[in-house]
Amino acid sequence: MKTIKYQLLKLLIPTSGADVQAEINTEKGYALVTGISANATDEEASLGCVFNKFEINNKEIFPEGYESSRITTGINVSPNDRFYKVTEPADGTKVTVKYKDGGNALAYPYILTIYLNLENA
């Protein structure tokens, strides 16, 4: 039977233009990362923000300069379609994210949450 888990990676963005880096290990017991999504607590923040690194298991998922807004979705999207589809190994692999704020948030600090959709086949 397929089992699914949503793992969160939270980044605190302290100031305008900040560069923030974070690393987590994917949950053990889940074979694959099958989706990625992102959301910020400040809705104005998403303009101009980029990932300067996004790797899973030392493999580049998004190159430098990839806008984080490209993996967000609007409210009209069905919940199960809100993830950017990937198929990468999980089960303890390292996820590395470097994020650069675009300087457009209404207030600082704000939190960027990255959601990882983990599954067992």
Partner: protein
């Protein structure tokens, strides 16, 4: 030994300096290690245009691209100026029937309509590609 092809994104930044210089040239060489690119996505990047009403789709400009060193002209498309917070759907790439080959040139222009919220700005062209080898792995 056959290696599985790795998916990768290429990003072409296009800087638009001011609305008076409204046509910006684009020239970019697809890296040699890229096998093919089969999807394209256009982003207004660091700018946007205020929506006038719920059903208004603000248009930043017009982009026109020639592929494979000017052998084909498959992209002539409007670039929307929607702020990410107004996005109602999902960002997905447009499929290209004319795939791009590694080592070839993309050439074209971005025509700005003078309505952006701020100048200068940098819009982005995203290309969804596969690599000839598993070059992504470190």
């Amino acid at each position: 030994m056959l290696r599985e092809k790795t998916k990768s994104w290429l990003i072409i930044p296009v800087k638009v300096n001011n609305p008076l210089a409204y046509v910006t040239g684009i020239e970019y060489k697809i890296p040699e290690h890229v096998d093919t690119c089969t999807g394209i996505m256009l982003s207004p990047g660091t700018t946007f245009i205020e929506k006038l009403s719920k059903n208004h789709t603000p248009v930043l400009g017009n982009i026109s691209l020639w592929f494979n060193s000017k052998t084909t002209h498959p992209v002539h498309y409007l670039v929307d100026g929607i702020h990410p917070k107004e996005q109602e759907g999902k960002y997905e790439s447009l499929r290209l029937k004319e795939s791009l080959k590694g080592g070839t040139l993309i050439q074209g222009l971005m025509e700005d309509f003078g309505k952006a919220n701020s100048y200068p700005y940098e819009m982005k062209i995203y290309l969804e590609c596969t690599l000839k080898c598993s070059c992504n792995d470190k």
